[in-house]
Subunit: 235 residues, 2 copies
């Protein structure tokens, strides 16, 4: 069974990068002291080195060493032999394009199936779903496919944002966008609010954090599920 | 020279569909009493027939008859012989996919180059740019390409939204997203606020409506341009 920690966001308002997740890291990566970092999503265009440094500083606080995947001559081998993997947020189109270009999608899938602990935030969480098609990001680059890792049997919408009932803006709400997704696609979508994460372990898929999450199913009305709910039946 | 009216949104807060644009329609489509409607973006999953009916009701107020492209046996011929074309908003990925699937991208380009008056709102405006890569929409379907019509020599971000300085949400602002676009792409982007439109005619490209627009250029700081500014040099 796969082991995954899929967080809506890396950072909560008023906190440091990954601050709220540091206690979780120690438990989640208890099987390894070295984690491979995938910096390909490049938030704000940050370089791989700088992004790895930033993520390292947070992981160090949990006693874990982080190594950027770009530092390896053989990235596929690094993924295959990794015991822990963390994919940071940024632009999902760029992340998925780079994973395909470096032929890392299949090794990543297999490594996670074989027991590597996988953690994602934002774009890194989005790619743990069946497809990246419920991302909020701009299509700044054209990836060879929208298919992603399928660590969970549904799609994820990170940074889920409830409709602002006072807004005068006429752009679509997040809920409207996900409804449009369901006019063409059938898999369920979990709208994961900032501060929530999904924990996959021991044949369970659970919602964690203090908030509820919003579930969207094709041809059904959306509904809320409470924290600690089992998401295994969501497929 | 092409003739185009490219609106950020179809609908302003508190108004009817296309209400604020009806006075413009009469002038813009003065060369024809029949306009071809492209309903492929299907906002909220609305059917082609229902969407065409909704748009027709607005156009009728300006004395113009609208016919849905889906009603024609030969869509390419309908586009080629059209004197006026209107593409409504909805999901840009779906719109672009359907245009490619029906082999309408090239006929549309040529028809506009040959003088057909082209109007777009939202997704219909986005596709008048060089690529659809500055859309705000979810990638609910995988199009064969992100390249679009290039009626204007830059990209357009419809429904442009200024950053909310009071927000505690950690998802990217629109400005951040467009900056990320510029880490990979070089063409300028115009952030077109709701109520603004671009008017292309007589070798001019002008900003219309009461608001200013925000211009993003690769490796430059974003800046504002006032309404009635000439956008011809923006490339």
């Amino acid at each position: 069974m796969s082991k995954a920690l899929l967080a809506s966001t890396s950072t909560l308002h008023g906190q440091e990068y990954l601050e709220y997740l540091i206690p979780e890291l120690k438990t989640f990566f208890s099987n390894t002291e070295e984690v491979i970092f995938i910096p390909f999503a490049r938030p704000g265009g940050i370089s791989h080195d700088k992004y790895t440094k930033k993520a390292s500083e947070a992981f160090n606080k949990a006693g874990i060493t982080l190594r950027g995947i770009h530092e390896f001559d053989n990235m596929r081998e690094a993924i295959t032999s990794a015991k822990g993997i963390f994919t940071g947020g940024g632009n999902t189109f760029l992340l998925v394009s780079e994973l395909y270009r470096n032929k890392l999608i299949q090794p990543l899938k297999e490594s996670i199936q074989n027991g590597a602990a996988y953690m994602g935030t934002s774009a890194g969480t989005n790619i743990a779903g069946l497809t990246m098609q419920t991302t909020n990001d701009m299509p700044i680059v054209y990836p060879p496919s929208f298919k992603t890792l399928g660590v969970v049997p549904f799609n994820i919408n990170p940074h889920y944002l409830d409709p602002d009932t006072n807004s005068t803006h006429k752009g679509e709400t997040r809920e409207t966008r996900i409804k449009e997704f369901h006019t063409i696609n059938t898999q369920p979508v979990i709208g994961l609010r900032e501060g929530s994460w999904i924990l996959v372990s021991d044949n369970k898929i659970e919602l964690k954090g203090s908030l509820s999450a919003r579930i969207f199913k094709s041809e059904k009305l959306p509904f809320e599920i409470e924290t600690n709910s089992d998401l295994s039946e969501l497929n």
